[in-house]
């Protein structure tokens, strides 16, 4: 079985981003970039399926700038067999990314596509589901456990208030949640091997996909800073404030 894994290059999760003063976005100059954490989990799951003998080949795909090669190399160092970069310097929306991935799925004829449930920059949580619609495959989103049995895949999903298990017909799409696994570290020998694994570069044009967007970001601002606290007089007042002012209970 061939598995396709999508990986995204994002700001390292340890970096606390700052909004640019002109409101045009967040300041990414000289900021450390890394593989999206949910994508790391996706790569790990694919590698584990390969180690179990279920997967025969793992293809890592990224849509992004030329520098996203770094993240693909990391995926290769973690155990992917080859990589495809769909190079685009524009910031693409989830639908465009899903269309590009669909083109790769058609080309590669993969049986399973594993993606992170969301990227920690745009926080969209869309691409896997959209890819499901475009390919007509079943989707197991927010997976915390994946089991393959014959031509079927059982996915345990993290849903509000609990867990749900669904059985999906293969080929299928899986998006990963945090508890699915704990990604390994790239070992030095594997880092060196990654250098020799093939990495192919494509463009949206070559895949015949239009990446036009209907969504425009007008402004990016910092969230309101913590306002000065107040002293409440009673428990009743506290509960009232938490319910109606802070809206946290």
């Amino acid at each position: 079985m061939k598995i396709l894994v999508a990986v995204k290059r994002v700001v390292d999760y340890n970096v606390k981003v700052r909004v640019k003063a002109d409101g045009s976005g967040v300041d990414l100059a000289n900021v450390k970039m890394a593989m999206n954490p949910f994508c790391e989990i996706a790569v790990e799951e694919a590698v584990r399926l390969k180690e179990k003998g279920i997967a025969s080949e793992i293809v890592a795909v990224s849509v992004g700038p030329a520098a996203a090669q770094e993240q693909l190399r990391t995926a290769l160092a973690l155990g992917a067999d080859r990589a495809i970069l769909i190079e685009s310097d524009e910031e693409l929306g989830s639908l465009a990314v899903a269309k590009l991935l669909k083109a790769v799925v058609d080309k590669e004829q993969s049986q399973l596509v594993i993606l992170g449930k969301q990227a920690i920059d745009s926080d969209n949580n869309q691409t896997g589901q959209m890819l499901g619609a475009l390919t007509g495959y079943a989707q197991g989103t927010f997976a915390s456990k994946v089991e393959i049995a014959g031509d079927q895949i059982n996915v345990t999903r993290e849903i509000d208030g609990g867990l749900q298990t669904v059985a999906l017909k293969l080929p299928a799409i899986v998006t990963t949640d945090l508890r699915l696994n704990e990604p390994r570290y790239a070992s030095l020998p594997n880092i060196m091997k990654a250098k020799k694994k093939p990495l192919e570069t494509l463009t949206p044009d070559a895949l015949g996909v239009s990446t036009a967007s209907t969504v425009k970001t007008l402004k990016v601002e910092a969230p309101a800073t913590r306002s000065a606290g107040i002293i409440v007089k009673s428990v009743a007042e506290l509960v009232e404030k938490l319910k109606n002012e802070a809206k946290v209970i």
């Binding site: 981003v17 909004v19 967040v26 989830s94 639908l95 920690i120 745009s122 926080d123 969209n124 949580n125 869309q126 691409t127 896997g128 589901q129 959209m130 499901g132 619609a133 475009l134 079943a138 989707q139 989103t141 927010f142 059982n154 999903r157 993290e158 849903i159 509000d160 609990g162 867990l163 749900q164 298990t165 669904v166 059985a167 999906l168 017909k169 209907t214 969504v215 425009k216 970001t217 007008l218 402004k219 990016v220 601002e221 910092a222 969230p223 913590r226 306002s227 606290g229 107040i230 002293i231 409440v232 009673s234 428990v235 506290l238 509960v239 938490l242 802070a246 809206k247 946290v248 209970i249």
Partner: protein, 309 residues
């Protein structure tokens, strides 16, 4: 201009998130219709018809929709959605599972987890885990949107009188099957992932007194933490410690009880969205970072809090 809101439900009762989503639809303006897709969900449809501000309820009552599987549901919502300017769902795991699939079927982009409506085509949404707020404008023919509940005040569940209309759904797509569900595990959530954290400090005086906090936590679905002082005093085990040297938490709500607020502790919780401090010493540094402070005896306040929740 009309909005179709996907109702959140479990075939028996309407989910609370629906009320916030309807509120977002009201902020957009125009007619509001609700879709109840499920199996044996007539009671939900009736409840939905009473929601304030809703003019019509569409009901698709079919076995294929029993578990809201997106493979079955998305084609229905996409077909119905073509008649609307806006398509909304709550940003619950159901909504997040379903709506992007619908958007792709309609070949439009989705806007996720809005917290504010600035105009019918302009919305605000958090990005970078809430460290930035983006204002986005959509020129799509159909605006497909998930709504974060905390951004909108729920509408009233009563007072409306919408018409109910049955719609014909499709058959099972045969791609996916519901196997099982494990809901409402009662154990407390994990400290680092919890939406609400209740923490006790040296002021708790003993490990037994932490029971007071557990009872409040259970009412709130919260995790329980402790300051280093409480851990050092042997009240509670080490793995409950919040702070520079313990666990770093950033929940929606952090309730610090009997904690003075040493800098080591603040470092572990200062990124919490809302901080409540309960302490008898009004000079305690914890009040500097608290959004709401309550000065007094925690042994009176905490049981009272439990009663009022």
């Amino acid at each position: 201009m009309a909005t179709l809101v996907i109702a959140e439900h479990n075939n028996a009762a309407l989910g609370a998130a629906t009320f916030n989503t309807v509120a977002a639809a009201q902020a957009i303006g125009g007619d509001i219709h609700l879709l109840v897709a499920g199996s044996n969900c007539a009671a939900v449809a009736e409840a939905t018809a009473r929601v304030a501000g809703v003019s019509k309820v569409l009901v698709a009552d079919q076995a294929a929709y029993a578990h809201q599987l997106p493979e079955n549901l998305a084609p229905l919502v996409a077909a119905l959605g073509r008649d609307y300017s806006h398509l909304l769902a709550a940003a619950t795991t159901n909504g997040k599972d379903l709506l992007p699939r619908v958007a792709a079927l309609l070949d439009v982009e989705q806007i996720s987890e809005i917290v504010k409506v600035l105009a019918p085509d302009t919305f605000q949404r958090p990005i970078y885990a809430g460290n930035a707020l983006a204002t986005v404008q959509s020129s799509a023919a159909i605006k497909v949107i998930t709504v974060r509940g905390t951004g909108f005040d729920a509408v009233a569940g009563e007072g409306g009188s919408a018409s109910i209309e049955a719609v014909k759904g499709g058959s099972d797509a045969g791609l996916s099957r519901f196997v099982g569900e494990e809901i409402a595990r009662s154990e407390r959530p994990e400290l680092t992932g919890a939406k609400i954290v209740v923490s006790g400090g040296r002021g708790m005086q003993s490990g037994d007194n932490f029971q007071l906090l557990y009872r409040v936590a259970d009412k709130l679905g919260a995790a329980v933490g402790a300051s280093r002082a409480a851990v050092d005093a042997g009240f509670v085990p080490n793995d409950m410690q919040v702070g520079q040297t313990g666990k770093i938490v950033a929940p929606q709500l952090y309730i610090a009880v009997g904690i003075s607020g040493a800098i080591q502790h603040l470092a572990g919780m200062k990124d919490s969205k809302v901080i409540v401090a309960i302490n008898k010493d009004e000079e305690a540094p914890i009040f500097q970072v608290a959004d709401y402070g309550l000065v007094g005896d925690l042994f009176e306040i905490v049981p009272e809090l439990e009663r009022q929740l």
